[in-house]
Symmetry: C2
Subunit: 268 residues, 2 copies
Protein backbone atom coordinates (compact mmCIF):
# COMPACT_ATOMS: atom_id res chain seq x y z
CA UNK A 1 0.00 0.00 0.00
CA UNK A 2 1.64 3.27 -1.07
CA UNK A 3 1.71 6.14 1.35
CA UNK A 4 -0.92 8.40 -0.17
CA UNK A 5 -1.04 11.38 2.15
CA UNK A 6 0.10 13.75 -0.61
CA UNK A 7 -3.06 13.03 -2.60
CA UNK A 8 -6.28 15.04 -2.70
CA UNK A 9 -9.61 14.65 -0.94
CA UNK A 10 -12.34 13.64 -3.41
CA UNK A 11 -15.85 15.05 -3.01
CA UNK A 12 -18.87 13.82 -4.92
CA UNK A 13 -22.24 15.50 -5.07
CA UNK A 14 -25.23 15.66 -7.35
CA UNK A 15 -24.55 19.33 -8.08
CA UNK A 16 -23.59 22.47 -6.18
CA UNK A 17 -24.86 21.41 -2.74
CA UNK A 18 -21.60 19.67 -1.88
CA UNK A 19 -19.83 23.01 -2.24
CA UNK A 20 -20.98 23.74 1.32
CA UNK A 21 -18.86 20.73 2.30
CA UNK A 22 -16.03 21.89 0.03
CA UNK A 23 -16.08 25.28 1.73
CA UNK A 24 -15.98 23.82 5.23
CA UNK A 25 -13.13 21.54 4.22
CA UNK A 26 -11.09 24.46 2.90
CA UNK A 27 -11.78 26.28 6.18
CA UNK A 28 -10.97 23.40 8.52
CA UNK A 29 -8.23 21.85 6.35
CA UNK A 30 -6.61 24.74 4.51
CA UNK A 31 -3.58 22.70 3.42
CA UNK A 32 -5.42 19.94 1.56
CA UNK A 33 -5.97 19.55 -2.16
CA UNK A 34 -9.55 18.76 -3.23
CA UNK A 35 -11.12 17.24 -6.34
CA UNK A 36 -14.84 17.95 -6.65
CA UNK A 37 -17.31 16.23 -8.93
CA UNK A 38 -20.83 17.65 -9.35
CA UNK A 39 -23.21 15.44 -11.33
CA UNK A 40 -25.08 18.48 -12.60
CA UNK A 41 -26.39 16.80 -15.75
CA UNK A 42 -28.28 14.23 -13.67
CA UNK A 43 -29.27 16.23 -10.59
CA UNK A 44 -31.45 16.26 -8.56
CA UNK A 45 -30.84 12.78 -7.17
CA UNK A 46 -33.71 13.07 -4.67
CA UNK A 47 -36.53 11.79 -6.90
CA UNK A 48 -34.47 9.03 -8.61
CA UNK A 49 -34.71 5.29 -7.84
CA UNK A 50 -32.14 4.15 -5.24
CA UNK A 51 -30.52 1.74 -7.68
CA UNK A 52 -29.88 4.53 -10.17
CA UNK A 53 -28.39 6.90 -7.60
CA UNK A 54 -26.07 4.13 -6.41
CA UNK A 55 -24.93 3.44 -9.97
CA UNK A 56 -24.22 7.14 -10.60
CA UNK A 57 -22.30 7.47 -7.33
CA UNK A 58 -20.17 4.42 -8.13
CA UNK A 59 -19.30 5.88 -11.55
CA UNK A 60 -18.19 9.09 -9.88
CA UNK A 61 -16.14 7.23 -7.28
CA UNK A 62 -14.36 5.39 -10.13
CA UNK A 63 -13.62 8.73 -11.75
CA UNK A 64 -12.36 10.29 -8.51
CA UNK A 65 -10.15 7.27 -7.83
CA UNK A 66 -8.44 8.01 -11.14
CA UNK A 67 -7.70 11.58 -10.02
CA UNK A 68 -5.15 10.85 -7.29
CA UNK A 69 -7.25 10.97 -4.16
CA UNK A 70 -6.73 9.52 -0.69
CA UNK A 71 -10.33 9.64 0.53
CA UNK A 72 -13.89 9.92 -0.78
CA UNK A 73 -16.46 12.26 0.75
CA UNK A 74 -20.00 11.54 -0.39
CA UNK A 75 -21.31 15.06 0.12
CA UNK A 76 -24.83 14.16 -0.95
CA UNK A 77 -27.33 12.86 1.54
CA UNK A 78 -29.36 10.98 -1.04
CA UNK A 79 -26.33 9.14 -2.38
CA UNK A 80 -25.15 8.43 1.17
CA UNK A 81 -28.58 7.23 2.29
CA UNK A 82 -29.08 4.76 -0.54
CA UNK A 83 -25.61 3.28 -0.92
CA UNK A 84 -22.81 4.12 1.51
CA UNK A 85 -22.05 0.47 2.20
CA UNK A 86 -21.82 -0.34 -1.54
CA UNK A 87 -19.34 2.48 -2.02
CA UNK A 88 -17.26 1.20 0.88
CA UNK A 89 -17.22 -2.27 -0.67
CA UNK A 90 -16.09 -0.82 -4.00
CA UNK A 91 -13.29 1.36 -2.73
CA UNK A 92 -10.07 0.62 -0.88
CA UNK A 93 -10.04 4.24 0.31
CA UNK A 94 -11.85 5.64 3.33
CA UNK A 95 -15.37 6.61 2.20
CA UNK A 96 -17.23 9.07 4.38
CA UNK A 97 -20.94 9.88 4.08
CA UNK A 98 -22.83 12.90 5.32
CA UNK A 99 -25.33 11.06 7.49
CA UNK A 100 -23.24 9.68 10.35
CA UNK A 101 -21.58 13.00 11.21
CA UNK A 102 -24.96 14.78 11.19
CA UNK A 103 -26.45 12.12 13.45
CA UNK A 104 -23.59 12.36 15.94
CA UNK A 105 -23.90 16.14 16.07
CA UNK A 106 -27.68 15.97 16.58
CA UNK A 107 -27.26 13.52 19.45
CA UNK A 108 -24.83 15.90 21.10
CA UNK A 109 -27.16 18.88 20.65
CA UNK A 110 -30.60 17.63 21.55
CA UNK A 111 -31.72 18.36 25.10
CA UNK A 112 -35.27 16.95 25.00
CA UNK A 113 -34.58 14.05 22.62
CA UNK A 114 -36.89 15.54 20.00
CA UNK A 115 -35.07 15.64 16.66
CA UNK A 116 -36.27 16.69 13.22
CA UNK A 117 -34.81 15.71 9.88
CA UNK A 118 -35.35 17.39 6.52
CA UNK A 119 -34.00 15.98 3.28
CA UNK A 120 -34.82 15.01 -0.28
CA UNK A 121 -37.49 12.44 -1.11
CA UNK A 122 -34.79 9.75 -1.54
CA UNK A 123 -33.13 10.51 1.78
CA UNK A 124 -36.37 10.57 3.75
CA UNK A 125 -37.72 7.45 1.99
CA UNK A 126 -34.53 5.57 2.95
CA UNK A 127 -35.10 6.32 6.66
CA UNK A 128 -31.31 6.42 6.93
CA UNK A 129 -31.34 9.22 9.52
CA UNK A 130 -34.11 7.60 11.61
CA UNK A 131 -32.30 4.27 11.63
CA UNK A 132 -29.00 5.83 12.63
CA UNK A 133 -30.57 8.03 15.30
CA UNK A 134 -32.68 5.21 16.78
CA UNK A 135 -29.76 2.82 16.57
CA UNK A 136 -27.59 5.17 18.60
CA UNK A 137 -30.28 6.22 21.09
CA UNK A 138 -33.50 4.21 21.16
CA UNK A 139 -36.52 6.17 22.37
CA UNK A 140 -35.66 9.40 20.56
CA UNK A 141 -38.69 11.19 19.14
CA UNK A 142 -37.96 11.73 15.46
CA UNK A 143 -39.90 13.71 12.88
CA UNK A 144 -38.75 13.52 9.27
CA UNK A 145 -40.04 15.32 6.22
CA UNK A 146 -39.01 15.51 2.59
CA UNK A 147 -38.62 19.06 1.26
CA UNK A 148 -38.05 18.46 -2.45
CA UNK A 149 -38.57 22.08 -3.52
CA UNK A 150 -35.74 23.36 -1.31
CA UNK A 151 -33.04 22.06 -3.67
CA UNK A 152 -34.73 23.75 -6.59
CA UNK A 153 -35.07 27.04 -4.70
CA UNK A 154 -31.32 26.98 -4.01
CA UNK A 155 -30.24 25.84 -7.47
CA UNK A 156 -32.40 28.54 -9.08
CA UNK A 157 -31.41 31.33 -6.70
CA UNK A 158 -34.96 31.76 -5.40
CA UNK A 159 -34.27 31.56 -1.66
CA UNK A 160 -34.97 35.23 -0.95
CA UNK A 161 -38.50 35.32 -2.39
CA UNK A 162 -41.99 35.33 -0.88
CA UNK A 163 -42.67 31.94 -2.53
CA UNK A 164 -39.73 30.46 -0.68
CA UNK A 165 -41.16 31.71 2.63
CA UNK A 166 -44.50 30.09 1.83
CA UNK A 167 -42.84 26.81 0.90
CA UNK A 168 -40.70 26.83 4.04
CA UNK A 169 -43.72 27.54 6.26
CA UNK A 170 -45.58 24.64 4.66
CA UNK A 171 -42.70 22.14 4.88
CA UNK A 172 -41.55 23.06 8.36
CA UNK A 173 -44.91 23.31 10.21
CA UNK A 174 -44.70 19.67 11.44
CA UNK A 175 -41.50 20.45 13.31
CA UNK A 176 -43.17 23.18 15.33
CA UNK A 177 -46.03 20.82 16.13
CA UNK A 178 -43.57 18.09 17.15
CA UNK A 179 -41.67 20.61 19.28
CA UNK A 180 -38.24 19.45 18.06
CA UNK A 181 -35.26 21.19 19.63
CA UNK A 182 -32.80 20.06 16.95
CA UNK A 183 -33.27 19.97 13.18
CA UNK A 184 -30.84 18.11 10.92
CA UNK A 185 -30.33 19.81 7.56
CA UNK A 186 -30.16 16.46 5.79
CA UNK A 187 -29.18 17.80 2.39
CA UNK A 188 -26.04 19.74 1.56
CA UNK A 189 -28.10 22.36 -0.25
CA UNK A 190 -29.93 23.42 2.89
CA UNK A 191 -27.13 25.37 4.59
CA UNK A 192 -27.55 27.78 1.68
CA UNK A 193 -31.03 28.63 2.97
CA UNK A 194 -30.31 28.22 6.67
CA UNK A 195 -31.40 31.74 7.47
CA UNK A 196 -34.91 31.19 6.12
CA UNK A 197 -35.15 27.79 7.82
CA UNK A 198 -34.03 29.22 11.16
CA UNK A 199 -36.51 32.08 10.90
CA UNK A 200 -39.32 29.64 10.11
CA UNK A 201 -38.66 27.12 12.90
CA UNK A 202 -37.69 29.76 15.45
CA UNK A 203 -34.46 30.48 17.27
CA UNK A 204 -35.12 27.80 19.91
CA UNK A 205 -34.30 25.05 17.39
CA UNK A 206 -30.65 24.15 16.76
CA UNK A 207 -29.89 23.54 13.11
CA UNK A 208 -27.37 20.79 12.33
CA UNK A 209 -25.29 21.73 9.30
CA UNK A 210 -23.96 18.52 7.74
CA UNK A 211 -21.20 20.41 5.97
CA UNK A 212 -19.58 21.53 9.22
CA UNK A 213 -19.97 18.12 10.79
CA UNK A 214 -18.54 16.17 7.90
CA UNK A 215 -15.53 18.47 7.63
CA UNK A 216 -14.77 17.78 11.28
CA UNK A 217 -15.04 14.05 10.60
CA UNK A 218 -12.72 14.27 7.57
CA UNK A 219 -10.20 16.01 9.77
CA UNK A 220 -10.38 13.25 12.40
CA UNK A 221 -9.90 10.54 9.77
CA UNK A 222 -6.89 12.32 8.26
CA UNK A 223 -5.38 12.59 11.71
CA UNK A 224 -6.13 8.97 12.75
CA UNK A 225 -4.74 7.53 9.54
CA UNK A 226 -1.88 10.01 9.28
CA UNK A 227 -3.15 11.20 5.93
CA UNK A 228 -2.67 14.97 6.29
CA UNK A 229 -0.73 16.35 3.34
CA UNK A 230 2.93 16.05 4.34
CA UNK A 231 3.94 19.37 2.79
CA UNK A 232 1.48 21.74 4.54
CA UNK A 233 0.62 23.34 1.21
CA UNK A 234 0.11 27.07 1.34
CA UNK A 235 -1.89 27.20 -1.87
CA UNK A 236 -3.40 23.74 -2.29
CA UNK A 237 -5.05 23.10 -5.63
CA UNK A 238 -8.74 22.60 -6.20
CA UNK A 239 -10.03 20.76 -9.26
CA UNK A 240 -13.67 20.88 -10.31
CA UNK A 241 -15.47 18.54 -12.69
CA UNK A 242 -19.13 18.39 -13.66
CA UNK A 243 -21.26 16.23 -15.91
CA UNK A 244 -23.32 19.15 -17.24
CA UNK A 245 -22.71 22.73 -18.31
CA UNK A 246 -19.58 23.95 -16.54
CA UNK A 247 -20.48 27.63 -16.92
CA UNK A 248 -23.63 27.63 -14.79
CA UNK A 249 -21.77 25.58 -12.17
CA UNK A 250 -18.87 28.05 -12.23
CA UNK A 251 -21.25 30.94 -11.78
CA UNK A 252 -23.02 29.50 -8.73
CA UNK A 253 -19.75 28.23 -7.27
CA UNK A 254 -17.99 31.56 -7.72
CA UNK A 255 -20.87 33.28 -5.92
CA UNK A 256 -21.02 30.72 -3.11
CA UNK A 257 -17.29 30.47 -2.52
CA UNK A 258 -16.36 34.09 -3.21
CA UNK A 259 -13.54 32.91 -5.40
CA UNK A 260 -13.37 32.39 -9.13
CA UNK A 261 -13.31 28.72 -10.02
CA UNK A 262 -12.94 26.83 -13.29
CA UNK A 263 -14.85 23.61 -13.93
CA UNK A 264 -14.55 21.06 -16.72
CA UNK A 265 -17.25 18.85 -18.15
CA UNK A 266 -16.40 15.15 -18.05
CA UNK A 267 -18.27 12.26 -19.65
CA UNK A 268 -18.57 9.37 -17.20
Amino acid sequence: MPHSSYKAIGILDSGVGGLTVFQELTRQLPHEQIVYFGDTARMPYGPRPDEEVRRFALQIIDFLQNQEIKMVVVACNTATAVGLSSYRERSALPVLGVIEPGVRAALKQTRKGRVGVIGTAGTVRSSAYEKALQGARPGLHITARACPLFVLLVENDLVDTPEAEKVAAEYLAPFNLAAVDTLILGCTHYPLMAELIQKTVGSGVTLINSAEEIAGEVKSILTERRLHHPLQLTEPGYRFFVSGNPHSFEEIATKMLHRRIKAYQVTL
Copy 2:
Protein backbone atom coordinates in the same frame (compact mmCIF):
# COMPACT_ATOMS: atom_id res chain seq x y z
CA MET B 1 5.11 31.91 -5.83
CA PRO B 2 4.22 28.64 -4.15
CA HIS B 3 6.71 25.80 -4.20
CA SER B 4 5.06 23.47 -6.69
CA SER B 5 7.41 20.53 -6.88
CA TYR B 6 4.74 18.13 -5.58
CA LYS B 7 2.60 18.78 -8.66
CA ALA B 8 2.40 16.72 -11.84
CA ILE B 9 4.01 17.10 -15.26
CA GLY B 10 1.41 18.01 -17.89
CA ILE B 11 1.66 16.56 -21.40
CA LEU B 12 -0.39 17.70 -24.35
CA ASP B 13 -0.67 15.95 -27.67
CA SER B 14 -3.10 15.70 -30.55
CA GLY B 15 -3.72 12.03 -29.78
CA VAL B 16 -1.72 8.94 -28.86
CA GLY B 17 1.64 10.03 -30.30
CA GLY B 18 2.62 11.84 -27.12
CA LEU B 19 2.40 8.53 -25.28
CA THR B 20 5.92 7.86 -26.56
CA VAL B 21 6.94 10.91 -24.54
CA PHE B 22 4.81 9.76 -21.61
CA GLN B 23 6.58 6.40 -21.66
CA GLU B 24 10.04 7.93 -21.75
CA LEU B 25 9.12 10.24 -18.89
CA THR B 26 7.95 7.33 -16.75
CA ARG B 27 11.21 5.55 -17.56
CA GLN B 28 13.56 8.48 -16.90
CA LEU B 29 11.49 10.02 -14.10
CA PRO B 30 9.76 7.12 -12.35
CA HIS B 31 8.78 9.20 -9.29
CA GLU B 32 6.78 11.90 -11.08
CA GLN B 33 3.03 12.22 -11.48
CA ILE B 34 1.80 12.94 -15.01
CA VAL B 35 -1.40 14.39 -16.48
CA TYR B 36 -1.87 13.61 -20.16
CA PHE B 37 -4.30 15.26 -22.56
CA GLY B 38 -4.85 13.77 -26.03
CA ASP B 39 -6.97 15.89 -28.36
CA THR B 40 -8.28 12.78 -30.11
CA ALA B 41 -11.51 14.39 -31.30
CA ARG B 42 -9.57 16.97 -33.32
CA MET B 43 -6.50 15.02 -34.45
CA PRO B 44 -4.57 14.97 -36.70
CA TYR B 45 -3.20 18.48 -36.19
CA GLY B 46 -0.83 18.20 -39.17
CA PRO B 47 -3.20 19.38 -41.90
CA ARG B 48 -4.89 22.14 -39.82
CA PRO B 49 -4.19 25.88 -40.17
CA ASP B 50 -1.51 27.12 -37.73
CA GLU B 51 -3.91 29.53 -36.05
CA GLU B 52 -6.31 26.69 -35.25
CA VAL B 53 -3.63 24.40 -33.84
CA ARG B 54 -2.40 27.25 -31.62
CA ARG B 55 -5.93 27.89 -30.34
CA PHE B 56 -6.43 24.19 -29.53
CA ALA B 57 -3.09 23.93 -27.75
CA LEU B 58 -3.84 27.02 -25.64
CA GLN B 59 -7.19 25.51 -24.60
CA ILE B 60 -5.42 22.35 -23.52
CA ILE B 61 -2.77 24.29 -21.61
CA ASP B 62 -5.55 26.11 -19.75
CA PHE B 63 -7.09 22.76 -18.87
CA LEU B 64 -3.77 21.27 -17.73
CA GLN B 65 -3.03 24.33 -15.61
CA ASN B 66 -6.25 23.57 -13.73
CA GLN B 67 -5.04 20.03 -12.99
CA GLU B 68 -2.21 20.85 -10.58
CA ILE B 69 0.83 20.74 -12.80
CA LYS B 70 4.28 22.27 -12.46
CA MET B 71 5.35 22.12 -16.12
CA VAL B 72 3.89 21.75 -19.61
CA VAL B 73 5.34 19.39 -22.22
CA VAL B 74 4.04 20.04 -25.71
CA ALA B 75 4.55 16.49 -26.99
CA CYS B 76 3.31 17.31 -30.46
CA ASN B 77 5.67 18.62 -33.11
CA THR B 78 2.95 20.41 -35.05
CA ALA B 79 1.71 22.28 -31.98
CA THR B 80 5.30 23.07 -30.99
CA ALA B 81 6.23 24.24 -34.48
CA VAL B 82 3.34 26.65 -34.88
CA GLY B 83 3.09 28.19 -31.42
CA LEU B 84 5.66 27.44 -28.72
CA SER B 85 6.31 31.13 -28.05
CA SER B 86 2.57 31.86 -27.67
CA TYR B 87 2.26 29.08 -25.13
CA ARG B 88 5.21 30.43 -23.19
CA GLU B 89 3.60 33.87 -23.13
CA ARG B 90 0.35 32.40 -21.84
CA SER B 91 1.79 30.29 -19.07
CA ALA B 92 3.78 31.11 -15.95
CA LEU B 93 5.04 27.51 -15.91
CA PRO B 94 8.01 26.13 -17.84
CA VAL B 95 6.74 25.09 -21.28
CA LEU B 96 8.87 22.62 -23.21
CA GLY B 97 8.42 21.77 -26.88
CA VAL B 98 9.63 18.73 -28.79
CA ILE B 99 11.66 20.57 -31.40
CA GLU B 100 14.58 22.06 -29.45
CA PRO B 101 15.58 18.78 -27.78
CA GLY B 102 15.44 16.94 -31.13
CA VAL B 103 17.59 19.62 -32.76
CA ARG B 104 20.20 19.48 -30.01
CA ALA B 105 20.40 15.70 -30.28
CA ALA B 106 20.73 15.82 -34.07
CA LEU B 107 23.57 18.34 -33.83
CA LYS B 108 25.37 16.03 -31.44
CA GLN B 109 24.89 13.00 -33.70
CA THR B 110 25.61 14.23 -37.21
CA ARG B 111 29.13 13.56 -38.47
CA LYS B 112 28.84 14.92 -42.01
CA GLY B 113 26.43 17.76 -41.26
CA ARG B 114 23.75 16.19 -43.44
CA VAL B 115 20.51 16.05 -41.46
CA GLY B 116 17.04 14.89 -42.49
CA VAL B 117 13.73 15.85 -40.90
CA ILE B 118 10.40 14.09 -41.29
CA GLY B 119 7.18 15.44 -39.81
CA THR B 120 3.56 16.34 -40.46
CA ALA B 121 2.57 18.85 -43.13
CA GLY B 122 2.20 21.56 -40.47
CA THR B 123 5.61 20.89 -38.94
CA VAL B 124 7.44 20.84 -42.27
CA ARG B 125 5.55 23.89 -43.57
CA SER B 126 6.61 25.83 -40.45
CA SER B 127 10.31 25.16 -41.19
CA ALA B 128 10.74 25.11 -37.41
CA TYR B 129 13.39 22.38 -37.53
CA GLU B 130 15.31 23.98 -40.40
CA LYS B 131 15.34 27.35 -38.65
CA ALA B 132 16.51 25.86 -35.37
CA LEU B 133 19.17 23.69 -37.04
CA GLN B 134 20.48 26.52 -39.25
CA GLY B 135 20.36 28.94 -36.34
CA ALA B 136 22.54 26.67 -34.26
CA ARG B 137 24.92 25.60 -37.02
CA PRO B 138 24.81 27.56 -40.27
CA GLY B 139 25.96 25.58 -43.31
CA LEU B 140 24.23 22.33 -42.33
CA HIS B 141 22.74 20.49 -45.26
CA ILE B 142 19.09 19.89 -44.35
CA THR B 143 16.49 17.82 -46.15
CA ALA B 144 12.91 17.95 -44.85
CA ARG B 145 9.86 16.08 -45.98
CA ALA B 146 6.26 15.84 -44.79
CA CYS B 147 5.03 12.26 -44.30
CA PRO B 148 1.34 12.80 -43.59
CA LEU B 149 0.33 9.15 -44.00
CA PHE B 150 2.68 7.95 -41.27
CA VAL B 151 0.40 9.25 -38.48
CA LEU B 152 -2.54 7.48 -40.02
CA LEU B 153 -0.61 4.22 -40.36
CA VAL B 154 0.24 4.36 -36.66
CA GLU B 155 -3.21 5.43 -35.45
CA ASN B 156 -4.83 2.66 -37.51
CA ASP B 157 -2.36 -0.06 -36.56
CA LEU B 158 -1.18 -0.51 -40.17
CA VAL B 159 2.57 -0.22 -39.64
CA ASP B 160 3.33 -3.88 -40.34
CA THR B 161 1.75 -4.05 -43.78
CA PRO B 162 3.12 -4.08 -47.35
CA GLU B 163 1.35 -0.75 -48.00
CA ALA B 164 3.30 0.80 -45.16
CA GLU B 165 6.58 -0.40 -46.71
CA LYS B 166 5.60 1.17 -50.03
CA VAL B 167 4.66 4.44 -48.38
CA ALA B 168 7.89 4.52 -46.39
CA ALA B 169 10.00 3.79 -49.47
CA GLU B 170 8.27 6.63 -51.31
CA TYR B 171 8.53 9.20 -48.48
CA LEU B 172 12.09 8.36 -47.47
CA ALA B 173 13.79 8.09 -50.88
CA PRO B 174 14.94 11.76 -50.81
CA PHE B 175 16.99 11.07 -47.68
CA ASN B 176 18.98 8.34 -49.40
CA LEU B 177 19.60 10.70 -52.31
CA ALA B 178 20.67 13.47 -49.95
CA ALA B 179 22.93 11.03 -48.08
CA VAL B 180 21.84 12.21 -44.64
CA ASP B 181 23.58 10.57 -41.68
CA THR B 182 20.98 11.67 -39.15
CA LEU B 183 17.19 11.68 -39.44
CA ILE B 184 14.99 13.53 -36.96
CA LEU B 185 11.69 11.77 -36.27
CA GLY B 186 9.86 15.08 -36.08
CA CYS B 187 6.54 13.69 -34.92
CA THR B 188 5.87 11.78 -31.72
CA HIS B 189 4.05 9.09 -33.65
CA TYR B 190 7.12 8.08 -35.60
CA PRO B 191 8.98 6.20 -32.87
CA LEU B 192 6.10 3.73 -33.11
CA MET B 193 7.27 2.86 -36.63
CA ALA B 194 10.98 3.35 -36.08
CA GLU B 195 11.81 -0.18 -37.17
CA LEU B 196 10.29 0.31 -40.62
CA ILE B 197 11.91 3.72 -40.98
CA GLN B 198 15.32 2.40 -39.97
CA LYS B 199 15.02 -0.52 -42.40
CA THR B 200 14.06 1.86 -45.20
CA VAL B 201 16.82 4.46 -44.71
CA GLY B 202 19.44 1.86 -43.82
CA SER B 203 21.44 1.23 -40.68
CA GLY B 204 23.97 3.97 -41.47
CA VAL B 205 21.44 6.66 -40.57
CA THR B 206 20.98 7.60 -36.91
CA LEU B 207 17.32 8.17 -36.00
CA ILE B 208 16.61 10.92 -33.49
CA ASN B 209 13.67 9.96 -31.28
CA SER B 210 12.11 13.16 -29.92
CA ALA B 211 10.50 11.26 -27.07
CA GLU B 212 13.83 10.23 -25.56
CA GLU B 213 15.32 13.66 -26.09
CA ILE B 214 12.45 15.59 -24.54
CA ALA B 215 12.36 13.32 -21.50
CA GLY B 216 16.02 14.08 -20.89
CA GLU B 217 15.27 17.79 -21.20
CA VAL B 218 12.35 17.57 -18.76
CA LYS B 219 14.69 15.91 -16.30
CA SER B 220 17.25 18.71 -16.64
CA ILE B 221 14.61 21.37 -16.08
CA LEU B 222 13.26 19.62 -12.98
CA THR B 223 16.79 19.45 -11.64
CA GLU B 224 17.73 23.04 -12.49
CA ARG B 225 14.55 24.47 -10.98
CA ARG B 226 14.48 22.01 -8.07
CA LEU B 227 11.08 20.76 -9.17
CA HIS B 228 11.54 17.01 -8.64
CA HIS B 229 8.69 15.60 -6.55
CA PRO B 230 9.87 15.98 -2.94
CA LEU B 231 8.43 12.66 -1.80
CA GLN B 232 10.11 10.28 -4.30
CA LEU B 233 6.76 8.59 -4.99
CA THR B 234 6.94 4.85 -5.44
CA GLU B 235 3.63 4.65 -7.29
CA PRO B 236 3.10 8.06 -8.85
CA GLY B 237 -0.34 8.64 -10.34
CA TYR B 238 -1.06 9.07 -14.02
CA ARG B 239 -4.20 10.84 -15.20
CA PHE B 240 -5.41 10.63 -18.79
CA PHE B 241 -7.92 12.90 -20.51
CA VAL B 242 -9.06 12.97 -24.12
CA SER B 243 -11.45 15.05 -26.18
CA GLY B 244 -12.81 12.08 -28.13
CA ASN B 245 -13.80 8.50 -27.41
CA PRO B 246 -11.85 7.35 -24.35
CA HIS B 247 -12.21 3.65 -25.18
CA SER B 248 -10.23 3.62 -28.40
CA PHE B 249 -7.57 5.76 -26.71
CA GLU B 250 -7.45 3.35 -23.77
CA GLU B 251 -7.07 0.41 -26.13
CA ILE B 252 -4.12 1.87 -28.06
CA ALA B 253 -2.53 3.21 -24.89
CA THR B 254 -2.84 -0.08 -23.05
CA LYS B 255 -1.15 -1.83 -25.98
CA MET B 256 1.62 0.78 -26.29
CA LEU B 257 2.37 1.11 -22.61
CA HIS B 258 1.81 -2.51 -21.58
CA ARG B 259 -0.30 -1.32 -18.71
CA ARG B 260 -4.04 -0.86 -18.35
CA ILE B 261 -4.96 2.80 -18.31
CA LYS B 262 -8.26 4.64 -17.81
CA ALA B 263 -9.03 7.83 -19.73
CA TYR B 264 -11.85 10.33 -19.33
CA GLN B 265 -13.44 12.47 -22.01
CA VAL B 266 -13.38 16.18 -21.23
CA THR B 267 -15.11 19.00 -23.07
CA LEU B 268 -12.74 21.94 -23.53
